[in-house]
């Protein structure tokens, strides 16, 4: 069995808060499998600046802004599964997560402007994504505005919609609140198992 490469990005500005805990639960389950190799990135320590909107990537096929994204760019390409965990602030993903998502513009330019492959042809359709999120509000629609942004992000990094899974837990605000949530831990473990099973089928 080949190694399954998982890139896990915690985008919250808060360390070990609710969304990162959700991520850790998913990773804990995935790590049970010896084939899984996890790289966890804490975004606030990764130095990713916002996109400047210069559109240079449409010509250069690369970003002119050199920072932590240089490494993350390659890690995103190499991974079989990309997990993004981000809390909802004011009805969408936190600004830190939006910075990362916008920097994926280089992938969008590659795919749609330059018509170049984001990953080698043989890996298309074999990439998986998980979006983990938490929100303080208890509104049913609290994740609605984040989802198109997330779909767009995963689309440009060549993860198909059908291979994108979600765990979104609302009404958890204070640090640690997720630990008292009745189903969050189970949902996280269950999504980890089902994505892993799907990956093994597809990657074999």
């Amino acid at each position: 069995m080949n190694t399954i490469r998982v890139l896990a990005i915690s985008a919250s500005p808060r360390r070990h808060g609710n969304s990162e805990t959700l991520l850790d639960w998913v990773l804990e389950e995935m790590r049970q499998d010896p084939a899984v190799n996890v790289t966890k990135v804490v975004l606030i320590e990764a130095n990713v600046a916002p996109c400047r909107g210069c559109n240079a990537c449409e010509k250069l096929n690369a970003c002119i802004n050199h920072d932590g994204m240089d490494i993350l760019h390659d890690q995103i390409i190499m991974a079989d599964c990309i997990i993004l965990a981000a809390p909802i602030y004011c009805m969408s993903i936190c600004a830190q997560a939006k910075a990362l998502v916008d920097r994926a513009q280089v992938f969008r330019s590659r795919k749609y402007v330059l018509k170049l492959p984001v990953v080698p042809q043989e890996r298309i359709g074999k990439r998986f994504g998980i979006f983990l999120s938490t929100a303080g509000q208890d509104w049913e629609y609290v994740f609605d505005a984040a989802i198109p942004v997330i779909k767009c992000f995963f689309n440009v990094i060549e993860v198909k919609n059908r291979d994108l899974s979600y765990v979104m837990i609302r009404h958890v605000d204070e640090k640690g609140a997720i630990k008292r949530h009745p189903t969050a831990h189970k949902e996280a473990a269950s999504i980890a198992r089902s994505v892993l099973t799907a990956m093994k089928e597809r990657l074999s």
Partner: protein, 209 residues
């Protein structure tokens, strides 16, 4: 009859003098021509950090980060009209604008938890908030995700969310100057905003809650 009407224009684009900033300039030109006192703020030139989610403001109603955001929010709270412009990046507003909006959390706390920042419903009726945006794509849902954020912000700050200008398919038009109506609309809406506020009239074209 209100004699002075202050209008704050916020540009959320990282790019200077691009499509959305041109829309903002037209709005402010229209507002000035109607007698408004206008100020334009370029978010990308300000020094501020993103919200750290520490929730310290939940007790005090004060943000522990003392940077450009606080003074700007004070100014906005004192204004009669706010107009915010941002392009759509990856189906959402820019990071600069999202970062600024996230920082309003302490005002949300004052409004909804502490009850120390209350703009009366009467005041809110007259105070107007507008959003100007452009998108490269031609999808009709391309602006949808921006609205819940703007709605929340305007609500926290006590502005009625009024219909601004949304111009999509910038990739097709090759820029805002080739769009048939957007710049003219921005001027007209800015002009009418100030006239309306001066007359003490609530805006007619509200964004539905």
């Amino acid at each position: 009859m209100k004699e002075t009407v202050t209008v704050i224009g916020l540009s959320g684009s990282p790019r200077r003098r691009g499509n959305t900033e041109q829309l903002l300039d037209k709005f402010l030109e229209g507002a000035s021509d109607a007698g408004g006192t206008c100020e334009k703020v370029i978010l990308s030139t300000l020094d501020y950090s993103s919200c750290k989610g520490c929730n310290a403001c939940h007790k005090t109603g004060i943000c522990i980060m003392d940077d450009a955001v606080r003074g700007l929010y004070d100014k906005i709270l004192a204004a009669d009209c706010i107009v915010i412009s941002s392009p759509i990046y990856t189906m959402g507003i820019t990071t600069e604008l999202k970062s600024f909006i996230d920082r309003a959390h302490y005002l949300w706390v004052r409004h909804f938890i502490l009850g120390t920042h209350v703009i009366t419903p009467e005041e809110k009726k007259i105070r107007r908030g507008y959003f100007l945006s452009t998108a490269g794509m031609d999808r009709d849902d391309v602006f949808d995700t921006a609205f819940p954020m703007l709605k929340a912000l305007f609500n926290i700050l006590g502005f009625t969310h009024c219909m601004g200008v949304l111009a999509r398919n910038m990739d097709g038009y090759g820029g805002i100057t080739n769009h048939p109506t957007a710049l003219r609309d921005a001027y007209r809406i800015g002009n009418l905003a100030v006239k309306g506020i001066m007359a003490g009239m609530p805006c007619v074209e509200r964004i539905k809650q």
